[in-house]
Amino acid sequence: MEDDAPVIYGLEFQIHIIDFDDENNIINKNVLLHQAGEIWHISASPSDKGVLATCYNKTPDSRVLACAAVWRMPEELESVGHESPDDSASTTQTLELLCQLGSAAPGNVACVTWEPMGDGKKVISLADNHILLWDLQESSNQAVLAGSASLEGKGQLRFTSGRWSPHHNCTQVATANDTTLRGWDTRSMSQIYCIENAHGQLVRDLDFNPNKQYYLASCGDDCKVKFWDTRNVTEPVRTLEEHSHWVWSVRYNHSHDQLVLTGSSDSRVILSNMVSISSEPFGHLVDDDDVSDQEEHHAEEKSKEPLQDNVIATYEEHEDSVYAVDWSSADPWLFASLSYDGRLVINRVPRALKYHILL
């Protein structure tokens, strides 16, 4: 487990890159300046770990303008390696701007999402009521608008969040606006499904089950986390009501999709075990060939255990609202959460559960 687990988070005008050395329990921090403005949303390219996209606010002449851009982190950052965690000693470097998203079509960008499996060439940004598909060309130095769709309806419609589905050959994107969830086909840029009133109030975030197509989780201001099968949009598959305030973020574990992480403005992070609707509801299938009797017995025993969705743990380290949670992309048992007061907490899945899932 020599993997470092880089976690990226944004704070106002800086981007901090935190290196967490699992083995030695050492945290390293690199600070990159983000001079364009305060960052509201950040997402890293799936193919190039030096590239990331941000949504940021500019305030020229007392107007708030939300823009999006793709940036490259400095090369030498990776070689900086182990640095002393002292703040003042860390050298501040600047991000290199690759391209702006949305100069062609202005609007307040709420969210940027990358094509999950691709070569890091496709990005979708959500600006006001538009959904824009960008093609990044010339090593991401230029963004060409490849397609767009917009939401029409009465009132001021604004997208709040969106995710790109890893299934169906990466042709589906789901977005949230107000209380509605929508699915889009990126080839035709048309709507494929719509879950009206998915939540009682604003939908804050959503995420796709990485291992089970059609399954998607959403969370919102009604304090609920809902799991949907997009083939049946009338009713959620399951609803969790563990938080006591708005749920801001929901994330599936990348490899064990029964583990679901949620962060809420009640200052709590909750790790739930949604076995019954996961892709491995009976635990791992064990090969019959190389199983000794004892193990077989054990496996049988395990399969008899009732499937129970439960809360594994509630993390209360944060003193203020938690706005973002995410899993480590390197170590499936590691996750981080970020709260308003600037506290980043890195936690592990409880060991007992880890072995329960693995064995």
């Binding site: 007392s62 209380t179 403005s265 003193e319 007061d341």
Partner: protein, 679 residues
């Protein structure tokens, strides 16, 4: 004395003469006696001779008499065919059968004689005709059961095979009974039943059941010799027809399910059951009584279900009324009934409905009703049926109905008026404290539950009601909190905080918030008690303001955006938070006004906080937030249990706004105060 003695003396003188005379007389008599004896011997001799002579004659006469009798018998035999024919022609079947019975043995004995043989043949022919006629008559079936029974009796006497007869007897009885049944069925009809259920069961009782009884009695009398097999046949017969009858009765009773008149139904059932008890001993094997009891039980159960449904409907009706009453005043513009009055009316209406239902089902257990002493009605009906099924079931369903308002209204579509939630919550709480135990005591008293089967204890039910009340109240808090939250959210989200002008007034939405909160306070106050607050200082608004501004200043003196600076503000606010308790925003509420209001205000202010954090403020935007928060502070503290909570949240709002402001220059507290007082 002297005279007597004197009279004897002359007689005594003549005594020897007398004796002499007597001696003489005796000698004479002896002679005559001897003569008599001789004469008698002669007479005897003669008499013997005469007897001997007459003996012969006598014997002959006796023989003649014998012959005479025989001849008469023969004459009877010879005349028999004609007599029988005559009898048959006259329809005197009984006579004919008696004749036939008398002659049969003789004819049987002497059938080897040709003449007798002929008679017998004749007789047999006639008898066959007789039997045929009897059967004919039997078959025609027009005559009543007693006559038929007579026919059967005669046929039996004629030596017809009993088994066949009893088959036929039953077939005929069946025909008649089926007629009764079809008459009953006609009354059922597809059209609404004209005669009421009582009349129906009466008719069924006298027609069908009476007929069945007659048949059974006649059958048992006639075919007693058949032994157990005959009994079985009868039982099967009764069972089958009884089944049909029960089916009809059940269909009729099913039509009655919708009706509200229990007493009529109970009376009808009573008749029905009583009628069937009569053939009970006769038809014990057929199990008709059991089936009848089962039917009665089933009807009773269905009746309970009906009443349960009725109660539920009544409850829903009450709710609709309340909804209308709640909606009406706003339309009419005048004051409608207050919440407390509505609550009282709902409670009393439900209670009277419950009592009416109890009274209605109580009829089933009345002493004079024939089935009330069945074990079912003494035990299970009271405990499982009435207590568990009806009362407990209703209270449970009431809780469920109430809870369903919590579930559905969580989504946007549910438009339950909050006042209704509040009212239901209070209703459930009242149930928990008093009504449930009252109703259950009432039930137990009325129905004297003797059954030992476990029943839901009052405490469990109370706990459920309390839980429902709690959920409803929590939901009320959520809904009302949401209303105010939405107002605040819209007001923050739609405003351009960067280019706003210097604040001169408290924003109207804040006044609206305070107004709404006051209205909610009044509304809750109608139904719930005040509740406990933390001790307050004499001048809360002033004191809080100073605390509030000082905490705000901590935020203010961290203005720059160098990497280290936010850490300091965060550190300060973190330290602050370490000493304050975590605020559970959507926390369960207690049953009092202060707790409810605290919940609503918490939700609203937390929303304000989160919304502020999503915006960027100009200097005047920040100042406006300051003014708004101070205004809220001035008016909201009085509603909550712990005013610290309001301070804390409002501090956070202002501090967050300051953090979201590139040019955080707060307004002078005195100016803020002036603006708020003016507003």
């Amino acid at each position: 004395m002297k005279t007597t003695t004197s009279s004897f003396q002359p007689q005594a003188l003549s005594l020897p003469d007398t004796i002499r005379k007597m001696k003489n007389d005796f000698r004479k008599m002896e002679d005559e006696m001897d003569r008599l004896a001789t004469n008698m011997a002669v007479i005897t001799d003669f008499s013997a001779r005469i007897s001997a002579t007459l003996q012969d004659h006598h014997e002959r006469i006796t023989k003649l008499a014998g012959v005479h009798a025989l001849l008469r018998k023969l004459q009877f035999l010879f005349e028999l065919p004609s007599r029988l024919t005559k009898c048959v022609e006259l329809g005197a079947y009984g006579q004919a059968v008696r004749y036939q019975g008398r002659a049969r043995a003789v004819l049987q004995q002497y059938q080897h004689l040709p003449s007798f043989r002929a008679i017998q043949d004749d007789c047999q022919v006639i008898t066959a005709r007789l039997a045929q006629q009897l059967r004919q008559r039997f078959r025609e079936g027009g005559s009543g059961a007693p006559e038929q029974a007579e026919c059967v009796e005669l046929l039996l006497a004629l030596g017809e095979p009993a088994e066949e007869l009893c088959e036929e007897f039953l077939v005929h009885a069946r025909g008649r009974l089926e007629e009764e049944l079809s008459a009953l069925e006609k009354e059922l009809g597809p059209s609404p039943p004209a005669p009421d259920v009582l009349e129906f069961t009466d008719r069924g009782g006298s027609g069908f059941v009476g007929g069945l009884c007659q048949v059974a009695a006649a059958y048992q009398e006639l075919f007693e010799a058949q032994g157990p097999r005959g009994g079985e046949k009868l039982a099967a017969f009764a069972q089958e027809l009884g089944g049909c009858y029960f089916e009809l009765v059940e269909r009729r009773l099913a039509q009655e399910q919708g009706g509200g008149d229990n007493s009529l139904l109970v009376r009808a059932l009573d008749r029905f059951h009583r009628r069937l008890r009569a053939p009970g001993p006769l038809l014990a094997a057929a199990g008709l009584t059991e089936s009848a009891t089962e039917i009665v039980e089933r009807v009773a159960r269905e009746r309970l279900g009906y009443h349960l449904q009725g109660l539920q409907t009544a409850f829903l009706g009450c709710l609709t009324d309340v909804r209308q009453a709640l909606a009406a005043p706003r339309l009419a513009g005048k004051e409608g009934p207050s919440l407390a009055e509505l609550l009282a009316s709902v409670a009393s209406s439900i209670q009277s409905h419950i009592k009416a239902s109890l009274a209605a089902v109580h009829l089933f257990t009345a002493k004079e009703v024939s089935f009330s002493n069945k074990p079912y009605f003494r035990g299970e009906f009271c405990s499982q049926g009435v207590r568990e099924g009806l009362i407990v079931g209703f209270i449970r369903s009431m809780c469920q109905t109430a809870q369903s308002f919590c579930d559905s209204a969580g989504e946007k579509g549910g438009a339950t008026p909050p006042a209704l939630l509040l009212l239901l919550s209070r209703l459930c709480l009242d149930y928990e404290t008093a009504t449930i135990s009252y109703i259950l005591t009432l039930t137990d008293e009325q129905f004297l539950v003797q059954d030992q089967s476990p029943v839901t204890p009052v405490s469990t039910l109370c706990a459920e009601a309390r839980e429902t009340a709690r959920r409803l109240l929590t939901h009320y808090v959520k809904v009302q909190g949401l209303v105010i939250s939405q107002m605040l959210r819209k007001s923050v989200e739609t405003r351009d905080w960067l280019s706003t002008l210097e604040p001169r007034n408290v924003r109207a939405v804040m006044k609206r918030v305070v107004e709404d909160t006051t209205a909610i306070d009044v509304q809750v106050g109608l139904l719930y008690e005040e509740g406990v607050r933390k001790a307050q200082s004499s001048d809360s608004s002033k004191r809080t303001f100073s605390v509030y501004s000082s905490s705000r200043q901590q935020g203010r003196y961290a203005p720059s955006y160098t990497p280290s600076a936010p850490m300091d503000t965060n550190l300060l606010s973190n330290i602050q938070k370490l000493f304050s308790e975590r605020i559970d925003v959507f926390s369960p509420v207690e049953f009092n006004k202060v707790s409810v209001l605290t919940g609503i205000i918490k939700i609203s202010l937390k929303t304000l906080l989160e919304c502020v954090r999503l915006r960027t403020f100009g200097r005047f935007g920040l100042q406006q937030v300051q003014v708004d928060c101070h205004f809220l502070q001035l008016y909201l503290w009085r509603f909550v249990a712990d005013e610290e909570l309001v301070h804390l949240l409002l501090d956070e709002v202002v501090a967050s706004a300051a953090l979201r402001c590139p040019d955080p220059v707060p307004m002078e507290p005195s100016v803020v105060e002036v603006i708020c007082e003016r507003g």
